[in-house]
């Protein structure tokens, strides 16, 4: 293993992409199925979360482009159909456009947009929601198709990422529901709708956090028990090695079990305010740990070879530039 080729920007991109996708997907499900026929009432309440989702996707794309070796030519990502990241980028772009169209229908200061986009908002939300689901799955599939990396190449990873993205989406919606400067649209019915959505998401997130704990433990422990040598080594790092503190205390403890207890304790300031924030932090930590676990099966002698090479800050490599050769 020479070094990590993907670092923080990719972890943040995967987190924000999943989070944005999760918010859009849940907003669509709530509006189109759970509270079908209430779109007029719920629309203004969901505008805030949808705007947050738009910001997440835009920021995620910024981090992705920033990580590129040649950011000015990022548009080439759309050119090859066999590449999974082409499809990811396409879904992100479509989602952002339709999300923007949805949000514009609720911008209070520009009645032109409002009048134009309002009739299409169910359609816009539908497209954004379906793309959101695609993006959540894609963030996991992008890693799991790279079969050189034992810890990524498992179908459990897209399932884990999708569950985590939906759960973080629940948390973000809970925090931002009804928060929207265009309160001109917010009627008493909208506020009641927001409370109803909150109740539903509260229960949904309890289920999702349970499921996520299960998938995470099954994935990591099965790697530890029966994975390839490389996967075992990586899983050991999570369970009892360098990442153990982050995994057990950070991700399982503060990211999942503690918020779960808060959720289960009923509706309170803790379960409304603190638990969703912890779920969001846990989701980010999950992406970080996964991106950093990019272990590849080494060729015989490969690790020895690269460990012996000088690091890029070795003094002799820069002696020429520093002018202190003699």
């Amino acid at each position: 293993m020479k070094r990590h080729y993907w670092t923080s920007p990719i972890a943040i991109y995967l987190f924000l992409g999943g989070l944005g996708g999760g918010i859009m997907f849940l907003a669509w499900i709530m509006s189109a199925f759970v509270f079908a026929g209430q779109a007029d009432v719920l629309g203004p309440a969901l505008a805030g979360p949808m705007f947050i989702a738009l910001l997440c996707l835009a920021l995620g794309c910024f981090f992705l482009v920033f990580e590129l070796g040649q950011p000015p030519v990022f548009w080439r990502v759309f050119t090859t159909a066999t590449a999974i990241i082409k499809w990811g980028a396409t879904m992100l772009s479509i989602a952002m456009f339709f999300n923007l169209f949805y949000v514009l229908a609720y911008v209070p200061w520009f009645p032109v947009f409002e009048n134009f986009f309002m009739p299409f908002r169910a359609f816009n939300l539908g497209v954004a929601g379906i793309m959101g689901l695609g993006i959540m799955i894609y963030t996991g599939v992008m890693l799991s198709t790279l079969k050189a990396h034992s810890f990524w190449a498992t179908p459990a990873l897209p399932i884990l990422f999708t569950t985590s993205a939906t759960s973080t989406g629940c948390a973000a919606i809970s925090l931002s529901l009804g928060v929207w400067p265009g309160s001109v649209h917010m009627t008493m019915a909208s506020y009641l709708g927001a409370v109803a959505i909150h109740e539903v998401l509260h229960v949904v997130d309890i289920v999702l956090v349970f499921v996520e704990i299960g998938i995470l433990l099954i994935m990591v422990l099965s790697f530890l028990g029966s994975g390839t040598r490389t996967a075992k080594r990586a899983a050991k790092r999570w369970v009892s090695g360098a990442y153990a503190g982050w995994f057990w205390i950070g991700m399982i403890g503060f990211g999942l079990v503690i918020p779960l207890c808060m959720y289960l304790s009923g509706v309170s300031a803790m379960s409304n305010g603190v638990a969703p924030v912890l779920v969001l932090c846990g989701g980010l930590l999950l992406r970080y740990l996964c991106v950093w676990t990019d272990d590849r099966q080494p060729l015989p002698g490969e690790e020895r070879y690269y460990n012996k090479l000088p690091k890029s800050d070795a003094q002799f490599l820069h002696a020429w530039e520093d002018g202190d050769l003699y």
Binding site: M1, K2, Y5, W6, E67, L68, G69, Q70, P71, P72, V73, F74, R76, V77, F78, T79, T80, T82, A83, I84, I85, K86, A89, T145, L146, K147, A148, H149, D294, R296, Q297, P298, L299, P300, G301, E302, R304, Y305, S312, L317
Partner: protein
């Protein structure tokens, strides 16, 4: 049709790293990029029965490369003769291919300006072979032990064909299904 492959005779390699240096010179590589490291697991066995083996490597120019279909820009390509290469005028440096290669044979230099980083890899000296047909990759020409042998596996009279058809060879991580096109003749004593 031509299908270029390399046979590496591990019985002959003495670990001098001449091929590594030759490659760096021909391709004018930045300091942090190595296309063809010569690996070793160090001295093995107990005195006095000790031995040390060397494993020269390079891009496997896989028949089913992991690195080509995943490239979103079309920069990663495969020629008809099997050569896998990167058109750096198209590469945007997303490093998907670097993460896709199971052999770790692609890299991005950090010693070039931050926003001018593209993926580099061995091309079997594609430029050299195009400009001077019949020439071997520079590492092959440089190996004084004749441990690296290059040629067309489809030509029954080529040295690589004869070797592959007459002595035992193995390939790295064959189980992955990439069908690597670097054939190794095992070390003396049959060590793989």
């Amino acid at each position: 049709m031509t299908r270029n492959v390399m046979v590496i005779d591990l019985r002959r390699c003495v670990g001098c790293q001449s091929c590594t240096v030759a490659c760096r010179t021909w391709n004018d590589l930045p300091m942090d990029i190595i296309y063809n490291p010569v690996l070793t697991e160090g001295v093995q066995g107990d005195w006095p029965n000790v031995h040390r083996n060397w494993l020269p490597t390079l891009c496997m120019h896989c028949e089913n490369p992991e690195c080509v279909p995943c490239c979103p820009t079309g920069a990663s390509q495969q020629d008809e003769d099997g050569t896998v290469w990167v058109d750096h005028t198209k590469c945007m440096g997303c490093k998907v291919c670097v993460n896709a290669c199971p052999y770790g044979m692609r890299d991005v230099s950090h010693m070039v300006p931050r926003f001018d980083q593209y993926v580099r890899k061995c091309t079997f000296c594609r430029d050299r072979r195009q400009n001077e047909p019949g020439k071997d990759p520079y590492c092959v020409q440089t190996c004084h032990q004749k441990a690296r042998i290059f040629g067309d596996i489809e030509d029954p009279n080529s040295e690589v064909s004869k070797l592959i058809n007459s002595v035992e060879t193995f390939r790295l991580f064959e189980e992955l299904g990439t069908n690597p096109q670097i054939y190794y003749i095992p070390f003396l004593g049959g060590h793989r």
